[in-house]
């Protein structure tokens, strides 16, 4: 099958265009964070509290009273909000451009775009950004935009400079439909875990900030902490994303094992990539267990989550670059 150079070129241009859009989105998200009113300035839970007081008074009002967590007050349209919306719109645009780039890359060689490390990387960047957008459909994640577009840009930058490989056909070992299943899953997991890791880092920062504030001490990142959700919310969010991804990551490894059985005669052989997939899995399992263990909840569990993500990253970059094994498809 010949390589369609026009499509390959167009794919590269779309990747560049998406980078430009991500860069603009990053600026917009930074502006959003800078201009966002601090938590202290946001309207407090007063309205809900007032309703509750009414209810307890037993006055025969017909109001349905909420005394759980207060409903989020309608945020006023602020410049920060507007910047955040622009950031989100730009991220959608950039993601569509990047999606086009990945798609055309595959079409240019008539195969799934998972043949080498450049292709894995642009697909991973797409996955990070898509995971963020999917999550932001249901909740306000504008505060996270900056911390997601940054790794997306870093991944893409590394891909087009260091990892770039011309579009070519696949080597025989990769010619299997498991390529689509196994690598797509791995990429989605990478995207989601990256978002979870960004949330975990923010949780650790905010947690320190909240402790210092309670202790009445100064904190250099206090302005940032004021602009972020509470530590509890960040922690819960990052846990949910990880808990959703962990079964997916388990299935990725199983799909890889099924493929390995067809290609290499055994489903598990402790190839370096398999070893690190296993280590990553065990590390995330430890994170999930730590959250249910007294003395490990909170910060220590969060550090474990970051160690686990570091293992994931090492499995991607480190194993491809430093170790030789059966998963040698980086094209480097």
């Amino acid at each position: 099958m010949p390589v369609d150079l026009t499509l390959a070129q167009l794919s590269n241009e779309l990747v560049y265009a998406s980078m430009a859009a991500y860069a603009c989105a990053l600026v917009a998200f930074a502006a959003c964070l800078a201009a966002r009113p601090g938590r202290a300035l946001e309207p407090a839970a007063a309205p809900a509290g007032a309703l509750a007081a009414q209810g307890e008074g037993g006055v025969g009002t017909l109001t349905r009273v909420t005394s759980g967590p207060p409903a989020p007050p309608a945020p006023p349209a602020s410049p920060g909000r507007r910047a955040g919306n622009i950031g989100l719109a730009l991220t959608w645009l950039a993601t569509l451009l990047l999606g086009g780039g990945v798609l055309l890359r595959g079409l240019s060689v008539s195969r799934p775009p998972f043949g080498n490390m450049y292709e894995f990387s642009i697909a991973s960047a797409l996955a990070i950004s898509a995971a963020f957008l999917v999550l932001s459909l249901r909740r306000d994640l504008r505060f996270l935009g900056l911390f997601v577009t940054l790794p997306v840009l870093l991944t893409l930058g590394l891909a087009i400079t260091v990892l770039y490989t011309d579009a070519e056909q696949l080597m025989p070992a990769l010619q299997s439909y498991w390529l689509v299943i196994h690598v797509t899953l791995a990429t989605i997991c990478g995207g989601a875990l990256c978002v979870a890791a960004a949330l975990t880092v923010l949780y650790l920062v905010v947690d320190v900030g909240e402790r210092r504030t309670r202790a009445g001490r100064a904190f250099r990142l206090a302005p940032l902490v004021d602009r972020l959700p509470s530590a509890a919310r960040l922690d819960a969010l990052s846990y949910r994303v990880t808990a959703f991804t962990f079964p997916l990551w388990t299935f990725t490894i199983i799909a890889g094992a099924i493929w390995a059985e067809a290609a290499w005669s055994r489903y598990w052989g402790w190839d370096p990539k398999e070893v690190w997939a296993f280590i990553t899995w065990v590390a995330y399992a430890a994170y999930l267990h730590a959250r249910a263990t007294a003395g490990w909840k909170g910060r220590r569990a969060a550090y474990l989550g970051l160690v686990a993500f570091a293992c994931f990253l090492f499995n991607y970059y480190g194993v491809n670059i430093f170790f030789s094994g059966l998963h040698s498809y980086s094209g480097l």
């Binding site: 009273v65 080597m171 846990y239 290609a263 730590a290 249910a292």
Partner: protein
């Protein structure tokens, strides 16, 4: 009444302890207990979450050296090279098991402890869970308003009517429902999400299943490697394997009596571009027979498509070239005629091999390099510049002297100590060369391609797959299902209206019952819409 104490006890703490479904842990050591107490304490420590966490840690760390150092099971030559290059530390590391990490005693110790800890944790929980599954949800706490998540509303309907409707609404949403009444009011208690713990237990038990399946595979399965030249065959007996590793309980006599011949081998490579010479397809045409008397079946074996014959899978894992030589002695008598496998040394199939002829005078040997696309370079000497056979040639060195076949059985290596080199020559297919000093005449007749195959049978494969799928299923249930309880109390207020209290408690981490409460409240008869 009986409900009293139960109701108070069942009102779960809003704190973390009440949210976890894990059994409580006792970190304190045994106090003045005998050996039984110590045993019990040790068991409790081993099965605690904290220990499981430490063991998970250790398992992850212990797996690392296996990716850093070469491993015997994957790359024996690399281990031997490492030992040769590191004479001081190598043997010490070898004794520590660093070249066989995943078969080492310490790695096994960690995972065995982990699984013992797992069993110790999961079995009691299974018993508890089975009991819970047969029990109705606990009665409603007295003061629903004290729970962190609650709603209060009024209704015009009777309390009984409200409760009946609540019960119906909850049943319709597949909650497990219990009703009752106490001194405060009538109540409905409901619980949902039992699948969370079911999934959790299923996952952990499935992990045990995977361990057993792996053990079965390594005990009763076998794997081997064999090189088959085009036009040659292979019958499934131990002596025909180049490498054979049976499971500890797999008898060599259990090999199925299949045979196969490699009819043709075809490889395609990329021509031009930055990935010039990269392989694009390998295809082996193979004729196989289940038994010596069975009808032959011709199939194509590719990299991701192994040959399946009588329960054994045969995988194409590599290929290379095998040149054919005829060697005649001084008198013209043929002393050697065979096709010899040359092992590829690089991506362009610069291949090396050896021919040893003991029964001739003087003993004679050839050391050769086969080049599918011959090129020569002042720095590198002869090398191959492309993997396909575009311009095949062999570069030969002839040796004479003691071949020491008894001490060096390796067919791919020649130890030239004490031997004398009697000539070097490059030949293309069809050319011949007479070695002047010994009078041997070497003909390079041609070459064929060979396929390297892995042969494997793993009876634990299917059980491992089933257990893995169950594990993922259990994992998904245990992480995505939320376990929660809700309670409804309805009582008549002083003014005649009905006060409805609804409260809920999430029993799993970060779950929220707010949505459940809202749905439930919406399904209940509301207050009179009038002013």
């Amino acid at each position: 009444m009986a409900g009293h104490s139960t109701a108070t006890a069942a009102a779960p703490e809003p704190g973390a302890a009440g949210l976890s479904t894990a059994p409580a842990e006792d970190p304190s050591g045994p106090r003045g207990l005998g050996p039984v107490g110590w045993l019990r304490w040790t068991w409790r420590q081993l099965t605690s979450m904290r220990t499981a966490l430490v063991l998970l840690f250790l398992l992850a760390i212990a797996a690392i050296p296996g990716s850093v150092f070469p491993q015997r099971t994957q790359n024996l030559p690399a281990v031997n090279d490492y030992l040769r290059d590191n004479p001081t530390w190598g043997p010490f590391m070898d004794r520590l098991g660093l070249f066989e990490v995943y078969g080492s005693a310490w790695f096994a110790a960690i995972y065995v402890l982990l699984f013992v800890s797992l069993v110790g944790c999961v079995l009691p929980r299974t018993v508890t869970h089975l009991r819970t599954l047969r029990q109705p949800p606990p009665p409603a706490p007295r003061l629903l308003g004290r729970l962190p998540e609650h709603r209060t509303t009024t209704a015009d309907a009777d309390p009984e009517q409200v409760l009946a409707q609540a019960r119906q609404a909850l049943r319709a949403r597949r909650w497990r429902v219990r009703t009752g009444s106490d001194a405060v009011s009538g109540w409905v208690a409901a619980e949902k999400g039992y699948a969370r713990e079911t999934g959790n237990l299923l996952f952990h038990l499935a992990l045990l299943g995977i361990l057993v399946a792996v053990a079965v595979g390594s005990l009763f399965g076998f794997s081997g490697k064999v090189i088959v030249k085009t036009g040659s065959g292979f019958a499934d007996t131990v002596s025909q394997y180049d490498e054979f590793s049976p499971g500890r309980l797999a008898g060599a006599d259990q090999l199925p009596p299949f045979s196969m011949t490699l009819d043709a081998f075809h490889a395609d490579y990329q021509r031009g571009g930055r990935q010039n010479g990269a392989p694009r397809s390998f295809e082996a045409t193979v004729t196989s027979k289940e038994t010596p008397d069975a009808a032959p079946v011709t199939t194509t074996v590719e990299v991701n498509e192994p040959l399946e014959v009588s329960g054994v899978r045969m995988y194409l894992t590599g290929h290379g070239y095998a040149p054919t030589f005829t060697i005649r002695d001084r008198s013209g008598q043929v002393v050697f005629h065979d096709t010899v496998v040359f092992l590829p040394q690089d991506g362009n199939f610069t291949s090396t091999g050896v021919v040893k002829v003991q029964d001739t005078d003087p003993p004679f040997a050839l050391q050769g390099i086969f080049l599918p696309t011959a090129a020569i370079d002042e720095q590198r000497g002869p090398y191959s510049s492309f993997p396909a056979a575009d311009n095949p040639a062999v570069f030969l060195a002839a040796w004479t002297g003691d071949l020491r076949l008894d001490t060096i059985p390796n067919v791919y290596r020649l130890d030239t100590t004490g031997m004398e080199r009697v000539g070097i020559k490059a030949l293309t297919p069809g050319q011949s060369w007479t070695v002047p000093q010994t009078g041997h005449r070497v003909s390079f007749d041609g070459f064929v391609e060979f396929g390297a195959f892995s042969v494997a049978r793993d009876p634990g494969k299917l059980p491992a797959l089933v257990a893995s799928v169950l594990a993922v299923l259990g994992l998904a249930l245990s992480l995505l299902v939320r376990r929660r309880r809700v309670w409804v109390r309805a009582r008549r207020a002083a003014d005649g209206s009905t006060v409805v209290e609804v409260a809920g408690l999430a029993r799993s981490e970060h779950a929220t019952v707010a949505g459940d409460l809202d749905t439930l409240v919406a399904a209940l008869p509301g207050p009179d819409p009038g002013p």
